[in-house]
Amino acid sequence: MTGLEPQSQVTRARSGTLVQMPYAVSTPVFEGPFDLLLHLILQQEVDIHEVSLSRIVEAYLVELDKMKSLDLEVATEFLLIAATLIDLKTRRLLPTVDDGDLDEELALWEERDILLARLLDCKTFKDVAAVMQHLIERAELSQPRLAGPDERFESLMPDMLEGVTPLRLQRAFLRATEPKAPVSIDLFHVAPIRASVADALEELLLSLPTSGPTSFRTIVQGITDRIEVVVRFLALLELFKQGRVELVQAERFGDIAVVWNADATFDDMGAIDNYDG
């Protein structure tokens, strides 16, 4: 890539949305995973008893799509929260299972408490922000006196331009008008993302029964969109929960072995078909 090509692209980008909305960097309805989860719970659109995880996922994907950019941080946070939710959900749906592993149980409780604390934090600052907005609106009704001293006092003004040469002024202008390299520039070539857990489930249900033992990395090989990876992970968790696959992760951050459970009955397949992604 030569030095000039990117510049022309940036210029085009600058003449578009970036310059017109310098402050509207990101104004989605939901600003991040906590925000969305908070909304879903408080609106009571989701009863955790029959939590439609896909609904949370799809809602989030829609927001991501609106943002027209995909933030690694956002996706990671989302994944962590989704995993915790699934864990909680599994635990709730299977109340009679003997909780053999106390450590695991405590870890889950801890996860859940952290999530709860973060949701409370999120709610607190959302409310503070609303009050601040109100304060700003009220303050804007009054305009300050900005005229400064009149020309009688001009001679008292120190010369701020001492040492400023015409060349320095020119450089300052060039600095001010040079195309800035926006952080999100690397996303302009990304096509709108279409990804759903339901599609991923369908794909896995077609491939896994015949593929033999495989691994998560193999499944997502060649996939570059992070969200495509996320939905496959969530689909695998769903299959795991339904007993369709065995998942084994030998170490933290290690690959996850995926083994199709051929013993599952056809009734379960029906349930998966109805998965309302």
Binding site: V25, P33, L88, L119, T124, V131, A139, P144
Partner: protein
């Protein structure tokens, strides 16, 4: 102005105070006023408050208010429709919800690092921080001592000015905003591990 200068204060001082406030382009601290007027700060503080009250009482179209740690003259809110018509160009670009929430976190938790903000919001605040810094609402404070020397952020006097608040202490206490019991309960119920067995 006699009502303002009751007692032993030279009317000339009140005149000078009014003249200074008129030429100032940002809130003037009582300390600077005291220095220029060669009066004790306590006296100046009293004078400013009396002057503000006198303007209110006389029904002037301007007011003297204490904001961002100083005193400034500003137009009165009740005639804002006329002032707005006069200075349409002065409209502030609206601040986004994301920026406002980040600003709230910084206001109450300063000094705070980008990572700490990110932990609270679940979103990397980088672009929002840049916007807030560009608008002069936040500033980089000294770097923390720890490893990595994280940049710490805090709010500026301009932030207080925009909010019409005199000092950070005058912001409503954060305890007022802790979600009340039924919200906590709703969240807790949503995340309950053990199935709800109560009827």
């Amino acid at each position: 102005m006699t009502r303002v200068t009751q007692g032993d204060i030279d009317p000339e001082i009140v005149k000078a105070l009014e003249a200074i406030l008129l030429v100032a382009v940002e809130p003037v601290t009582v300390k600077l006023l005291a220095q220029v007027l060669e009066q004790p700060t306590a006296t100046v503080e009293v004078l400013c408050n009396r002057l503000a009250a006198a303007y209110d009482e006389a029904g002037h179209g301007f007011a003297l208010v204490s904001v961002a740690g100083g005193f400034r003259l500003q137009s009165r809110a009740e005639v804002s429709s006329y002032v707005e018509r006069f200075i349409l160009d002065g409209q502030q670009a609206r601040i986004s919800a994301a920026a406002l929430e980040t600003l709230a976190i910084i206001a109450y938790k300063q000094p705070i690092s980008r990572t700490q903000i990110s932990a609270i919001r679940g979103v990397d605040p980088e672009s929002v921080l840049r916007t807030l810094q560009a608008r002069g609402y936040i500033t980089e404070l000294e770097r923390s001592d720890g490893p990595g020397l994280a940049v710490m952020y805090g709010t500026t006097p301009l932030f207080l000015e925009r909010l019409g608040v005199n000092a950070l202490e005058n912001l409503p206490p954060i305890s007022d905003f802790v979600p009340d019991a039924n919200v906590v309960e709703a969240l807790e119920a949503g995340l309950r591990v053990v199935p709800d067995t109560t009827p």
